[in-house]
């Protein structure tokens, strides 16, 4: 048995597919949805806690990847709530890596997850509580 938390990012085309259902049904995994969000571009983000047989788990991930879903371990799980973010800019100056940055000339604040080191400064600083985090757990963690 393994227990793993992952962030999934779905392209717009697969958002309406019964992916979670398949994970449970076909791969016999216990799936707990910790957070789910679909943005205005219809791309989905989901944080899952997945528990099950390691082989089945690996096959489940393969299935997800075959659909174009990107999978990331949760150690980098800082999120931006796109609805709550007002593009005020209060996080720009304090983000140490430039993961939060202003795009010119639109003056919109962009969030590049790949540059985020989950220092959580923005989570404390954002006046609108738009930056969130889910507790991290590192690579495959065996249970029992």
């Amino acid at each position: 048995m393994i227990l793993q938390r992952v962030i999934l990012r779905f392209p717009a085309q697969v958002v309406d597919r019964p992916i979670i259902y398949n994970l449970i049904k076909k791969y016999d995994l216990v799936v707990n949805i910790l957070k789910a969000n679909i943005n205005i571009q219809k791309e989905g983000t989901m944080v899952l806690e997945i528990q099950g047989d390691p082989t089945q788990y690996a096959r489940g991930l393969e299935y997800l990847q075959s659909l174009g879903v990107s999978i990331q371990p949760l150690s980098q799980a800082v999120f931006r709530d796109e609805e709550a973010c007002t593009h005020c800019g209060a996080c720009i100056g304090v983000c140490p890596t430039g993961a939060l940055y202003l795009e010119r000339p639109s003056m919109e604040v962009k969030f590049d997850e790949n540059r985020c080191v989950a220092c959580l400064i923005c989570v404390k600083v954002c006046p609108y509580k738009a930056m969130g985090v889910v507790a991290a757990s590192n690579s495959l963690a065996p249970v029992d």
């Binding site: 007002t86 593009h87 800019g89 209060a90 100056g93 304090v94 003056m107 404390k124 006046p127 609108y128």
Partner: protein
């Protein structure tokens, strides 16, 4: 070219009005010249979305049976001010719960305050109302605890004693420690700079002599319709001629009012500034009637002609020193780097330019579609030089029983 308020409103009713946002007006004047642009355009819209601490709302909750004269009230545990008639109360945007840890562990989080309650009400969330009374013959009840929504109560009115500051200082920090301010987190040794107006979209910067703004001006407020009711607190518009020939306008403010029930949670958002406090972000948009070329001239000044002073929030601001470290334009601020004391400092805004633009566009749409007529002021706000300079608070020896 001259145009009257009445003519503009006639055109709005007939669907013939020409409205541009301030951004669009800047581009048009650059392309066609002032004369032609002023002749073509009837109204220029502006917008701003940012934290405005002098905001609040008053309510009439309706009478309970038996009746209570509310002596103290709390909405979601945030105290309101009940020193009015029996079931009226005011709630301020920066008010905090009595058990908030504040800055006891610095910097405090200030996660919920008056601004958040106002947002929750507008978002149609249920809010806990608790009140105590001392009991009178006409109001015997001594306590009530209930749940209200915005639709349950008789009146809910947003009333902000000071909004839409014409201009605002750029904040930096010259000390050796990080500071937590209402201008955001400021890193030591001029590590970053923050600013908080929408520059070329900012309402009172686009009519710097306040020739069209006054009591009765109809505005976009919190996603609904509001009105300017008075000059805002600390209203003291000034013009400073800068050494490089630039003009620094600042000091104008407005007091505004509007029906909270018709506002929208997207445009009234509770905010928490780490180490400083809670407040309310307000969306506000002002239409400027192009009554003549001069008004169009000012409405069409771009970011490179609009200046802000740079102030040290580490030492000067808290101590009340009036030193200015320099002047920069909004174009420089928006470029991401300003230069102060020979040092390049990265900048970031605190008020949302995309939201300001959205407000100006929304207001344009409301006016163009005939849904929003201009409100001609019954009296203009005091202009530059028409108010006494602001006074500071003097400390004097108090009366003997002053501490009572």
């Amino acid at each position: 070219m001259e145009r009257t308020w009445e003519e503009i409103n006639e055109k709005i009713k007939k669907g013939k009005v020409v409205v541009l946002t301030a951004e669009e007006a800047i581009a048009l004047v650059r392309e066609k010249g002032l004369k032609e642009a002023a002749a073509r355009v009837d109204v220029v819209t502006t917008g701003t979305f940012g934290t405005m601490c002098s905001s609040g709302a008053y309510f009439n909750f309706g009478h309970a049976r038996p009746r209570i004269k509310m002596y103290k009230v709390w909405l979601n545990n945030v105290p309101g001010y009940a020193g009015f008639a029996a079931v009226d109360a005011f709630l301020g945007a920066t008010q905090l719960p009595e058990d908030d840890p504040l800055n006891s562990i610095h910097p405090g989080a200030f996660s919920y305050g008056g601004g958040h309650v106002i947002h929750d009400l507008v978002a149609r969330k249920p809010v806990t109302l608790r009140a105590i009374g001392y009991g009178t013959d006409c109001y015997p009840r001594k306590e009530i605890r209930t749940v209200i929504t915005l639709d349950d109560i008789n009146q809910a009115v947003l009333f902000n004693p000071r909004n839409a500051y014409q201009n605002y200082s750029v904040a930096v920090n010259t000390t050796n420690r990080t500071i937590y301010t209402y201008m955001g987190v400021l890193k030591p040794r001029l590590g970053n700079a923050t600013y908080s107006t929408s520059g070329q979209l900012s309402p009172l910067l686009k009519d710097p002599y306040l020739r069209t703004v006054g009591i009765g001006t109809r505005i976009f407020l919190g996603g609904g319709v509001g009105y300017v009711v008075w000059q805002g607190t600390q209203h003291c518009p000034t013009l400073k001629e800068l050494p490089d020939g630039g003009k620094l306008f600042s000091g104008g403010t407005v007091a505004v009012i509007g029906d909270l029930k018709k506002m929208h949670p997207r445009w009234l958002v509770g905010v928490s500034y780490i180490g400083y406090g809670a407040s309310l972000a307000v969306g506000l948009g002002l239409p400027i009637p192009i009554l003549n070329e001069e008004i169009m001239y000012w409405a069409s000044r771009g970011d490179e002609e609009l200046y802000a002073p740079v102030i040290d929030y580490g030492e000067d601001y808290p101590q009340g020193n009036s030193r200015v470290l320099g002047y920069v334009t909004y174009a420089q601020l928006k470029s991401g780097i300003i230069k102060i004391e020979g040092k390049e400092i990265p900048t970031a805004p605190l008020s949302s330019y995309p939201r300001a633009r959205e407000i100006a566009l929304t207001l344009k749409d409301w006016i163009t579609s005939g849904r929003f007529l201009l409100g001609k002021p019954v009296e203009l706000l005091p202009s530059i030089g028409e108010t006494p300079p602001l006074k500071g608070l003097q400390e004097k020896a108090g009366e003997e029983e002053g501490e009572k």
